[in-house]
């Protein structure tokens, strides 16, 4: 790095450009910058992007994604991955809605607050329980995380649909949730959306856990070199297991916001954000190779993806072309991640 700087001072134009590009690539604000550039470029063709209404939508869509992606960061940091997060979300949504629904749910006669509390408990319990299942497969059975969560993704997703068909006549969704529940997804406190406050709380806690606690430091050490971590007395398996539990827990919490926003529990919840979950974290700069990540980066990544999503839909693009463009953006992020690794190694 210092060599590059010296060359730049000598006035070698090409080297200066390389150095500038390098600094940009390694900057943690790269994605935030890209988001701003995207908005500026889009403004002439989609002026709605400047309206408060649009940004309210963006915040509403971004918060649940941010929570799932924050959970995802925990497993990415230990060089794992959880592809099943969105399926976990769907199951949590369906089961919790089944508990809360006034259409013949078990608590239909109980007071609303009790139903809501029970529902939230189910969200959290199902989310972390399924996360624990993934974690157990990865740590106890030593299976590759990709395979484990790819298969549990299908398994959970199928299960969610099956449960819905068992519980409902039309088999599509479970509605008629208690009135108060919708507040979680749509309500405001002092003008701020409740979902924003919840997401903020999750992010702050996650940030503290990752950067200030023993557990967080262990996760990074495992991500960098699990064998060296083990020799240094890190309980590798236990820590990795809890990373998956936290990832599942976040999926369960995100399911609360989604379900409250739609006021129904549905098994197709989150299918659209299947890749966004990993994508948001990776675009933000959380490394797929493990050992590198920050909650702030995930915030930037989720913001970028949501803004791009909104911008493209304002243009009236079809769902298919939006998928293609977003896929391209995630691919670009993965390429940049690989380049960063190379730059850092050089």
């Amino acid at each position: 790095m210092s060599a590059v700087r010296i060359d730049a001072r000598r006035g070698a134009q090409g080297v200066a450009t390389v150095s500038w590009l390098r600094r940009l690539l390694l900057s943690e604000y790269l994605v935030l910058l890209l988001t701003i550039v995207f908005v500026l470029v889009m403004l002439p063709v989609a002026p709605e992007l400047a309206s408060l209404e649009t940004w309210r939508d963006i915040i509403g869509a971004m918060m649940p994604l941010l929570i799932v992606a924050t959970g995802q960061a925990f497993v990415l940091i230990v060089a794992g991955i959880d592809l099943s997060a969105t399926s976990n979300l769907a199951i949590s949504s369906v089961l919790a809605a089944a508990v809360m629904t006034l259409d013949g749910g078990p608590l239909a006669a109980a007071p609303a607050w009790l139903a809501i509390a029970a529902g939230i408990l189910v969200f959290v319990a199902v989310g972390s329980g399924l996360g624990a299942l993934n974690g157990a497969c990865v740590t106890r059975l030593s299976m590759p995380p990709f395979i484990v969560t790819l298969t549990t993704m299908m398994f959970f997703s199928g299960l969610a649909i099956w449960i819905t068909t068992l519980l409902t006549d039309d088999g599509s969704s479970i509605g008629n949730l208690p009135q108060g529940f919708a507040f979680l997804g749509q309500g405001r406190i002092a003008g701020l959306p409740f979902s924003l406050l919840i997401a903020l709380a999750v992010c702050v806690v996650a940030h503290v856990v990752l950067s200030r606690t023993l557990f967080g430091r262990w996760l990074f050490a495992i991500g960098i070199n699990p064998r060296a971590a083990e020799v240094s007395g890190v309980p590798v398996r236990r820590a990795v297991f809890f990373a998956y539990v936290i990832c599942g827990l976040c999926a369960g919490m995100a399911a609360i916001l989604y379900t409250a926003r739609l006021e129904t529990g549905t098994p197709v919840l989150g299918q659209r954000i299947l890749l966004d979950v990993v994508g948001a974290a990776v675009i933000g700069g959380v490394s797929l190779f493990g050992g590198k990540g920050k909650v702030l980066w995930v915030v930037f990544g989720a913001l970028f993806l949501t803004v791009v999503d909104k911008g493209l839909s304002l243009l009236g693009l079809s769902l298919a072309s939006m998928f293609a463009i977003k896929g391209g953006a995630i691919l670009a992020a993965a390429v940049i991640d690989a380049q960063r690794q190379r730059l850092l190694r050089a």
Binding site: T213, A221, I224, N225, R227, V231
Partner: protein, 511 residues
């Protein structure tokens, strides 16, 4: 014996990072001859062979094959000139069959223009090659199903198939049974009868005396002996290998005159194929060395003691109390520390900072409350102090990554991370491997300070000098057993090496 030499190496010199490891090394190999190359670990055997194989380029020196110059630029050149290596770790693809392995370098095609493998010809050639080495196996047997000895024979077949004229064996018998060894020797003799030149590298001097026509002895990068077998004995070989003056200075240390109570007691520790009935004690304030050849079970023992590998029988007592479930965590709770021989893969987080590395094993001691929040100031101060204590050469411990340090400084970081825990018992596996002389001296000083403060030290090293210079007592291991226990007053290089080569001495006496 034909007079024209097959291979001549003359005046080979080689330095790595300014340290010269070969000084005018020369040897001659005639067709139909088995030449043994012997020497201690680090005497220059591997470097010489790596130069011959085109892996390293020599600084000076000349090699000829059949009288014409040979200056390989890569392993492919070596192969083209008919040199075949049969390594300790075999280079076979275990997921493929024997025949696929034999022809992996170039399969016969159905036709010149058609890139399809001619299966029938592969099968026939493979069968012929296997017959030539008396290996009664179907050519389509997967290599994963073969024993270690059979794999070695397949390697030989591969060398024959490639029309090798010079075959180099590097410690071929360490993982073979007696019967497999006999079979291997019979094949080597057939290679000799065919006029192929064989270079045989081994620590097992009994085998060397039985098999080889001539022996070249290396010591510290010099050729110190080159003689026909008839003029040699195992005793003479050992004297040639070790006879050097102590060229390293060790910091003065007051040896533990009255050793304290035992820090570590090991009773009947066994794990099949690794270690057998180990019994020994390390007292507080005592430095106990472990000598032995590669594969003697020293590192395996260390890993078992620290809970990284399992054991079947035996007891480990730390400070007089048995360790119930041995894991790195329980071992560390009782004050154990472990410096691994593989610094890159297990000792350090290369991509993390010096500070993070030093802090890692001690983190739980700096985590407060239910949330286990780290007390960052206290941790930072402690890490800084420890880093300075072990003299890691860097200005900013939090900003410098471990991978950017020299080997010596990396090792100091590893030592530092354990010192922060103030260990009661420190197991060091090759603590000075790959570090320069200056850093070695500093590592020795730290070990002495630890012992003076009452820590028990168990130190594994392949450098006998180092053990003699540092230890109160030396355990000598061979084949997973402790073969000798020598007190400081009786330290003697030859006695140690003799015990480490116990088998070869026995074989040698029998031969």
């Amino acid at each position: 014996m034909p007079a024209t030499p097959l291979l001549v190496i003359e005046g080979l010199c080689k330095s790595f990072f300014g340290v010269q490891v070969l000084f005018d090394v020369g040897l001659t190999l005639r067709p139909g001859e088995v030449l043994a190359l012997v020497g201690e670990n680090g005497s220059g055997k591997s470097t010489t062979m790596n130069i011959l194989g085109g892996v390293h380029r020599p600084d000076r020196g000349r090699m000829t094959i059949d009288g014409t110059d040979y200056a390989p630029r890569g392993p492919r050149d070596a192969e083209a000139r008919g040199i075949a290596f049969i390594h300790q770790e075999l280079n076979l693809f275990r997921n493929l069959t024997i025949e696929e392995n034999l022809f992996i370098g170039g399969f016969p095609r159905l036709a010149r223009w058609l890139p399809l493998i001619d299966r029938r010809r592969v099968r026939e050639h493979a069968a012929a090659l296997l017959a030539a080495i008396d290996l009664d196996l179907a050519p389509n047997t997967p290599v994963s199903r073969l024993s270690q000895g059979e794999r070695q024979l397949v390697e030989i077949a591969k060398a024959l198939g490639g029309d090798a004229r010079i075959v180099i064996f590097d410690e071929p018998t360490t993982s073979l049974t007696d019967r497999e060894t006999q079979r291997l020797f019979a094949q080597i003799e057939r290679l000799r009868d065919k006029g192929i030149g064989v270079i045989y590298i081994s620590h097992i001097l009994g085998d060397v005396m039985r098999l080889c026509d001539r022996v070249t002895v290396l010591r510290d990068g010099h050729v110190v002996g080159d003689a026909a077998r008839a003029d040699l004995t195992v005793d003479r070989l050992i004297t040639l290998m070790v006879g050097r003056t102590i060229d390293q200075i060790y910091p003065p240390r007051a040896p533990a005159i009255r050793p304290g109570p035992p820090a570590l007691e090991v009773r009947g520790l066994s794990q099949r194929g690794m270690v057998e009935s180990l019994d020994f004690t390390v007292a507080q304030g005592e430095v106990v060395g472990v000598a032995g050849l590669m594969g003697a079970g020293r590192s395996e023992m260390a890993r078992i003691l620290f809970g990284l590998d399992p054991f079947e029988r035996g007891t480990i007592l730390v400070d007089g109390r048995p360790l119930e479930r041995v894991t790195p965590l329980t071992a560390m709770d009782r004050g154990m520390a472990f410096l691994t021989e593989d610094r890159r893969a297990e000792g350090l987080l290369m991509e993390a900072s010096i500070a993070d590395n030093i802090a890692l094993p001690s983190l739980p001691r700096f985590a407060a409350g239910v949330a286990r929040l780290l007390e960052r100031t206290r941790l930072g101060d402690a890490v800084e102090r420890t880093g300075r204590d072990v003299q890691v050469n860097a200005t900013d411990f939090a900003a410098t990554l471990a991978k950017n340090l020299s080997g010596g400084n990396q090792q100091k970081v590893v030592i530092g991370k354990w010192l922060l825990r103030a260990p009661r018992l420190f197991i060091l596996d090759e603590p000075t491997r790959g570090i320069d002389v200056g850093a070695k001296y500093e590592v020795y000083k730290i070990i002495n300070q630890l012992a003076a403060a009452g820590t028990g030290v168990l130190m594994i090293s392949s450098e006998i000098e180092e053990l003699i210079g540092m230890c109160d007592r030396i355990l000598v291991m061979a084949h997973g057993e402790i073969r000798a226990e020598i007190e400081r007053a009786a330290f003697d290089r030859e006695a140690i090496l003799r015990a480490a080569m116990w088998d070869s001495v026995r074989h040698g006496a029998a031969a």
